[in-house]
Symmetry: C2
């Protein structure tokens, strides 16, 4: 079982939205409580719901449901900051049917965690491409696109339709009625959250980088446009800032680093690298551009981690011939982030690359050649690739990758230093995101992207965002915990100053100018 | 100044909905709080709003309002059970413009209290006929009418349109924009409240007499259909039961009897007589049919207290000729409740009526004659009436009236006895409703309807329902006080038993079989 699935199983079952079956006393001359009041009174008998508030204005519907079902009804309740809210009522005992959907709104993919909230079981996890990709693979392009009011609305609608359609399909596959879904939870970065809620994203990307809203109140699903039970509620993870969103907060929640004595680090590398360091007493977060080289579109042969992408590479130290695996076992189309890290690490260890990232063109080998006068290493010759052209990495590509990895290492160093720690003192190192699932920490250490810690301190945590969203539905009290995290975290801006530039320049080498920082890598050198 | 106006002036000004002007710090790289969060943060600086909750999902609107007004905005806040709710925001300083409307939803008339909530002043009180009257003067007829779904909706819409239209007119007359009204408060009896909210009223009038809802949550005006500022809220007084509604609770609130050491009684006579007895420690309420004779439609010449109704009568002890006043100084059309009480009391004191309510036909007087073989007294001969026919009261009419007054006195006696008190120990006796405004307690005592207390203990309180509604808007904390009243009050059913029947029979006489109960009336006998 992977880390996140185990976290779902560890979550105590006390769902954000509960269903309570009640057999109410019938009205009589001696008990002339009004219908709606009778339901509320019945709920209040349970200590847990003593402070219950009526959160449904369709009084006639409640009344007729009570009367048509002989006052045996199931009440739908939300636990909002310890104030139970009565959202609706159903005839008879339907308390065994209570479903929810936790969603990771990733800029590339949306992941849906379909939960049975009676048993606490994950019914299915389904991933879908983000339908906004045609408007720009990177998020900045989409923000520019969203400048037009109608585009903003289009981006919103695409995400909403994606959510509704996916859930319709999942319901069909698992014999669940749409009306049996009462709760949603969404975690995404700040911009995706803005797109999803149809909010103006224009101020996110220009100084001083201000979102419309960070702390989003719990909302009726009807207000968002979700087509599940209209009495239901949606929770949207808060943001800390424009470059530090709900996805990372969900990550913190999932790792539990905010509950432990020891200091942990969580890194999530996507377009940006977000880093959190801290423990139960404090949390420091920061974000910086570190990832672009690891996604599609920057490195020439780079691509997203999807079918056709080379995700693992090994190079024979003698023959200098590569072995690789391709996602989906297809003909390779390009190389994804983890594949690039593997490749550069292996080229370095095989002696193809020097510590400055230069390819040793003196090695006479058919795979080492000049492409447009730039030295390159051919991973897949055109005859074996899906495109018919060579899949090769050039010195230019490697330079870009080294800049990314240097940025990553610099951010980690600076953040640790800010709290007076050295990286080697970090007890747990969580690597999140698609990156975290595919990356080989060994190789990332080899190129000097991640610090040279004992390997067992590295914990790949996969899609923490979706799991965090799912956890909220399983246990409503975690909403308060997310708020605590949000209140506790200090976001720091990494200003480009002399200290940072010196660190960065040192980190541009493989693994680093200061070899002593990477003893396990440089032992053979 | 009458009792209720003075009560309005005495209400501490701490409106249910407040407007707070804020000059927020502008965003910068050192303060990158999101727009909506910035507003909430600004509010939280004021201790009073430390726990403020965001109660508006139009985040983009809030954001753009902030930005378009240089972060100088007025926030609209509701005080709901001590949890401040941020309802909306306006550009610049509009805190001087905050209006509200308290409404008494009477079955006959609607009274609107238009309030300036900045100064606490009553701008205007306006009354309008209840537009439902064509569907039945009495409420039971309307309930029968409302059996059809579309009629129920029609009754709702008539009241809603009446509210919207009246407020549009008042706004025009006082240069107030509809959007400057953020709060409404409604008090009516249980059935009128059901009509107003479009709720099923069918179970109110059949055993075991169960309303759809008694404790109505605070509602967004948009949900009700009110056309004032859409961020606004409406408070609807709760009911205690089918025959004990929000109008009486408003009455208790206005009298303040629930805050005093001494025991008071509040009676409100309309179609029913509602009676509350109690003090700061306990409250007992009951209701019974006592009023019909005092409204139109039962006594042949009876009519509502409106223009054309005789409301005061004096009979010359020598000549037996009547003098009367007519509401609106028109030609008389009939006699309203207070006129009937006056008339019977005067007839009794002038010797026209004996203690059993029989007309002394031995008196040879042109005004005393037989109508359809029934002895009668002509108050207005046909030539002087608006209808061209005699306005006369017959023994049959008087019998009906005596039944009503006997019922009233019986209810009072029984209720007082239930709590171990005698009526003479009641310190304050509030007489509410239209009845309370017109009735002459002296005459009501003469016929034995009200107990023979020192006259200064009688306090006519007029339209407590509308004033109570207005008070809520002036001081939001009173919402909690109404809840306390609602929790404290014990509603008792007056079961028809031997004790009650004996009381009733004794009370059928003028003033009573037990003359000693009415020493000031029977002194001359």
């Amino acid at each position: 079982m992977d880390f996140v699935t185990s976290r779902l199983n560890d979550t105590p079952l006390d769902p954000f939205i509960k269903k309570i079956y009640l057999e109410l006393p019938k009205p009589s001359l001696n008990d002339n409580t009004a219908d709606v009041d009778r339901l509320i009174k019945g709920l209040k008998k349970n200590k847990k719901f003593a402070g219950v508030q009526l959160w449904n204005y369709d009084f006639d519907f409640i009344s007729s449901t009570l009367r048509n079902s002989d006052f045996k009804v199931t009440s739908i309740l939300a636990d909002d900051h310890n104030i139970p809210k009565m959202l609706g009522v159903e005839s008879g005992d339907t308390s065994g049917r209570n479903f929810g959907v936790g969603v990771d709104i990733g800029s590339t993919r949306l992941a849906f965690y379909f939960l049975d909230l009676t048993s606490g079981k994950l019914i299915e996890k389904r991933s879908v491409d983000n339908p906004q990709i045609p408007h720009g693979e990177d998020i900045l392009t989409r923000i520019v696109y969203a400048r037009e009011q109608e585009h903003k609305e289009q981006l919103r609608k695409e995400l909403l339709d994606c959510c509704n359609n996916t859930v319709v399909e999942m319901c069909k596959d698992h014999n669940v009625d749409l009306n049996e879904i009462y709760s949603w939870s969404f975690a995404g970065n700040t911009t995706m959250t803005h797109f999803f809620l149809g909010l103006n994203s224009q101020n996110i990307c220009k100084e001083p980088y201000i979102p419309v809203i960070n702390r989003i109140p719990i909302m009726p699903v009807s207000r968002i446009g979700l087509k599940t039970n209209l009495d239901g509620l949606a929770y949207v993870f808060p943001n800390v800032g424009s470059y530090f969103g709900g996805d990372i907060l969900a990550g913190i929640l999932v790792t539990g680093m905010h509950r432990r004595e020891e200091v942990s680090i969580l890194v999530d590398v996507g377009t940006n690298a977000e880093v959190v360091i801290g423990n139960k007493d404090w949390l420091i977060g920061c974000a910086g551009a570190a990832g672009p080289a690891l996604e599609g579109g920057v490195v020439q042969v780079g691509m997203m981690a999807k079918p056709g992408a080379i995700d693992k590479v090994r190079i024979n130290r003698e023959t200098l011939e590569p072995e690789y695996t391709v996602i989906g076992n297809e003909k390779p189309k390009g190389i994804c982030g983890s594949g690039l890290i593997d490749l550069v690490a292996e080229m370095f260890e095989a002696g193809i690359l020097d510590i400055q990232g230069k390819i040793n063109t003196k090695l006479s080998h058919p795979r080492i050649k000049l492409i447009d006068d730039v030295p390159a290493y051919v991973v897949v010759p055109g005859k074996d690739s899906a495109t018919g052209t060579d899949i090769a990495v050039t010195e230019v590509d490697i330079k870009i990758l080294l800049k990314s990895k240097a940025a990553m290492f610099t951010i980690l160093t600076i953040v640790a230093r800010k709290v007076g720690l050295e990286l080697k003192n970090i007890e747990r190192f969580y690597v999140a995101g698609t990156f975290g699932n595919h990356i080989d920490p060994e190789k990332a250490i080899t190129i000097g992207m991640l610090p040279d810690l004992p390997r067992d301190r590295y914990i790949p945590v996969g899609n923490t965002s979706g799991v965090g969203a799912a956890q909220i539905l399983l246990c409503g009290k975690l909403i308060g915990e997310v708020e605590d995290i949000c209140n506790k975290i200090t976001y720091i801006e990494l200003n480009v100053n002399a200290e940072l530039m010196a660190e960065f320049r040192g980190a541009l080498f493989i693994p680093h100018t200061h070899r002593e920082l990477f003893p396990s890598v440089t032992a053979w050198m």
